[in-house]
């Protein structure tokens, strides 16, 4: 097991990070395996029972989490925790070696953090006000669809109107990034809010799921950005959590 640690940088397997959190929160009874302890001590993260001074706030942010984040970007899964002061996320390494970069940022910076993570920015306006509904499990087939067939007015064998055909075929002709940001305030499905999008150079689409159905609507980047700020804690919620933590 390889743990990399230097000021401002910590790379390790996600399960080891979670086990490390139990060092600042004994309620979490997740035991660090011996080989993980050895790797953490070699890297300088642990010194006996003591956690390195600059790592401790990251672990405490996890224990003080107001809401948890789950971010899927194409085939990457990023998890995170939002405390009143600090947000911590585990970014899978570029090498895809099963480890994650532990990245921390002030909680107030989450909107721009999510913006950069999803590469949100101005898009051309290749069809606004278009909506398509389909079975959610057909989304992968939609993304793999033939743009020419869609442009001709057929989506997965079904006819679609001309505006939808134009907007969707434009999207499919370029690279499409698929992402979903979930903020979970509890364990139940009702305690979660999500912003999900299909994003391409010719425009962005919001994906809204309800049961087995998915509703796709063309949206502006503003609407997606607004979605980020809607699912994150408000100033009042953070202040309340901050006071409770004190």
């Amino acid at each position: 097991m390889i743990v990399e640690y230097s000021p401002g940088r910590l790379v390790l397997p996600p399960d080891v990070f979670l086990a490390l959190v139990s060092r600042v929160d004994p309620r979490r009874q997740v035991r660090l395996e011996d080989d993980a302890i050895d790797a953490l001590e070699r890297a300088g993260v642990l010194d006996g029972d003591a956690v390195a001074d600059d790592i401790r706030p990251l672990l405490e942010a996890v224990t003080a989490s107001v809401c948890d984040l789950m971010i899927d970007i194409d085939d990457r899964r990023i998890v995170g925790w939002v405390s009143p002061e600090l947000a911590v996320v585990l970014l899978p390494t570029r090498e895809r070696d099963g480890r994650a970069d532990v990245v921390a940022a002030p909680t107030v910076n989450l909107p721009i953090f999510l913006t950069e993570l999803t590469d949100l920015g101005p898009r051309s306006d290749d069809g606004r006000g278009v909506t398509i509904e389909l079975d959610a499990d057909l989304l992968p087939a939609l993304l793999a669809g033939d743009p020419d067939e869609v442009a001709a007015g057929t989506l997965l064998g079904q006819p679609i109107d001309a505006d939808a055909a134009h907007a969707l075929s434009s999207l499919l002709r370029g690279a499409v990034r698929r992402w979903r940001v979930v903020a979970a305030w509890g364990d139940g499905a009702d305690d979660q809010q999500a912003v999900e999008a299909l994003d391409g150079a010719t425009g962005a689409w919001l994906v809204e799921r309800e049961g087995d159905r998915a509703r796709l609507s063309t949206v502006t980047p503003t609407e997606l950005y607004r979605g980020f700020t809607a699912l994150l804690p408000t100033a009042e919620e953070l202040a309340t959590a901050f006071r409770a933590a004190r």
Binding site: V108, T115, E116, P122, P221, T222, Y225, T234
Partner: protein, 155 residues
């Protein structure tokens, strides 16, 4: 949102109720500020008017705005831009994230060329609170009515 009229009669605009309003503060025609601090930043709505040094066409005016904002705002990142309307005239809307004294702020700005003047309506808010105020900023921008100067005087 209540309507306010600039003392010159040049424009009217709806502004958030209970925010503090001031006219002609330095070079700013209208400043409306939320008295309540939010994440260390007071949300605000401002109207400014520029006198271009030379007559500009709308396309040049619009295309210059992202660079202008990038030059004056700290760590500006353009999130969105689109052509829309303000006071019945073509307008450009920009959404930009930037920092004010280290605090993350989102500004939404509408700009239009009307009567040879450059008009700006800008709403700024701590970024985490953008959703809370986005509708009021949009309402304000779309409520603005500019009295276009005519050859015979102000209309």
């Amino acid at each position: 949102m209540p309507e306010v009229r600039h003392p010159s009669g040049l424009f009217t605009i709806d502004v958030p109720a209970d925010w503090e309003t001031a006219f002609d503060v330095e070079d700013v025609a209208l400043v409306v500020v939320d008295p309540v601090d939010d994440f260390g930043f007071q949300p605000n709505l401002v109207v400014t008017v520029e006198h271009p040094e030379e007559p500009l066409d709308v396309d040049r005016w619009f295309s210059a705005q992202p660079e202008v904002l990038a030059a004056v705002l700290e760590d500006a990142r353009l999130l969105d831009l689109e052509v829309t309307e303000v006071s019945g005239q073509p307008a450009m809307r920009l959404l930009v994230h930037h920092f004010v004294d280290g605090a993350p702020v989102t500004v939404e700005q509408w700009t239009a060329l009307v009567g040879g003047l450059g008009w700006f309506v800008s709403g700024s808010v701590a970024s985490l609170s953008y959703d809370h105020l986005a509708d009021r900023f949009r309402h304000a921008a779309h409520s603005m009515r500019i009295a276009v100067p005519t050859a015979g005087g102000r209309s």
